[in-house]
Amino acid sequence: MAVRVKIRNEKQIVVPVRFTRAVTGPTVIDAPDVDDRGFAPGARPATWGSSDYRGAMVGITEGDTVRVKVTREDLDDGAPLFVTSTNPKVAAVAGPPAGQPLAADGIIRITGVADVRNTPVKIQVRLGSATGPVLGELEPHIFQLHRLRVRLHLVSINGVATTRTAASMVPVFQQINDIWRAAGIQFDYDPALTRNEAVNGLAVAGQMTTNLAAHSFAEFSTIINLNPDNNRINIYCVRLANEVFGLTFANNVARPNGYGIVIADNSVPNSNAHELCHYLDNPEHAHENAARQGVRTDIWARRRLLWTPNPYPAANPAHRNDVGYGAQTRGALISVKDLAGDPWDGETNRARRRSLNPF
C-alpha cells in the first residue's frame, strides 16, 4: 500500500524505518529495550570511538544474541529489506540469514561478538539486497559481562521479619538480571550466603520508617549498617517501608548513609533493579530536570528504569498509560544514549564505570 505524502512549503523529508524493542510486556532477556530516543548520537564515552550513525542504540552482552524490531514507518510493508553489519567481528547479524530478506515480523537477530574499544559498529537496513541503499542504522554496544556479588540480608524489625526467603529471591534475581543484561551487568546472588538480621527500637514493627521530604532516613541508615559484607552489594529485605518500595543512595555516598539497599516485600523485581541502578551511580530519577524537580511525565521518562513511581497512577493523555510494558507499568530502559538535553542521561555508561569498583 502506498505511503501518502502531502508536500507543504515546497519540501519534504522521508525517513523510512525505525528500530524498536522486539516485544511488548515484561522484560525478556533476549529482547532488550532499544534506546531510540532521537536520531542524533548524543555524547559518547571516550572508549566508544566516533561514528556517523544516526539512529537508535542498543546494548548487548558479549556472546549474546538479541532480537530487535525494524518498523516500517514510511515504507511499504512489502519492500524487501536486508540487514548487514559494518563490522561482524564486533556485532554480527544472526538473522535473517545472509542473503535472505527480513521477514514480515521485522525481527532481526544480532550477536554481540566482542567488546572492543573505539570500534563502533552499525547494523544497517538496506533496500533490495545486502549491498542496497542504507535506509536506517542501529548502533549496538557490546559489553563484556561484569559480575557483581550480592549479599542478601533478611531483616526483622521489632520482631516482625520480612516474608522473603533466600529461595524466594532466586527468581527475583533472575528477573533483575534480565533487565540488566543489556548493560552487560549481572548480579550474582548466592542464597546460601543469606544472613538473618534483627533490629529493635525502630518506630513501627516490621517497617522502615522515613521522612524523605525532611531528609530523615535514620532507620534506613541503621538497617544498611547491620552486619554488612564489605566485598558484596548488601541488600536488606524488610516487611514494609512507609514511603517507598526500596531505598538506595548512590555508591559515592559513604557509610553510614550509603553502601546499602533496602527493599520492601511489596517491591517487584523491576523496582529492585531500579534500586541497583541508583546504587551504580545513577542517583537521580528519569522525571527530574537539572534542578531535580520532577517535571517530566512523557512516554520516554516512563519507559526508563529510573522513572518513579511504579506502578504509576492513570496518566493524561491516556496513551501514556502503557509505554510498552503493560498498564501503568514503568519500563526497564537503562539509557545507552547520553542526550545533550538530559542532565542525567548515559545511565549504562555510568553504571558500568561504577561496576568496575562496586563495593
Binding site: 508536500i7 542524533a40 544516526r54 493523555p317
Partner: protein, 174 residues
Amino acid sequence: MSGVRRFIARLVKGSAAHNTLTLPPPVPVFFQRSPGFPSGDVRGIDGLDFEVVLAGATIQTGRTGADGRIDVRVPLAGSSTLRLMVNGAAVATYEISRTSDALAAANAVDGQKQRLRLLGYQIGHAGPDGNGVDTAQNVEFERSVLDFQADNGSFTDAIVDATMQGQLTTQAGA
C-alpha cells in the same frame, strides 16, 4: 540525478510544428536515515533508484545521490506516484500530493505536526490526508516531539513550548 522525459505531441500528421506539454515544477523530496535538514553531517539515502509517474506516464527516472534528494514533479493540488525500484521492479510506492496552503500556526497541534512531518519525523498515518497530520495529541505525535527535542539538544519533556515552536518554524517554515 534525475532524468525528465520530454512530452511532444504533433499538431497534425506531417506538421513540423508541435505542442510541448508543460510538466509541473519539481519539488524536492529527501530520503534520509534520520529527520531534519543536515547540519554538517550526512543523512541522505544514497543510491535509491526511482521513477515518477504522472497521469499513467513515467516522467522521471534516476538514482539518488548522497543527499537522498529526488526532485519530484507534482502538479499543484494534484499528485504524482514516486516508486522506489530494485532491479527494475517497483518495491515501494509513495503517493505525493502538493498543496500551496500555508502551514497552520506553530502553536497549534496540526501546525506542529505539519512541520514535524515536513522534517521527516514519523508521526504515523492518521488524519484526513493519511500522513499523520491532524489535531490529535497521540503517541506518535508525542514520540516525534521528543525525537525533535532530543535531536535539537533540548530538554526532552514532550512539551511544545515557545522555544520549540520557534525551532519548528525556523527549520520547516513559518
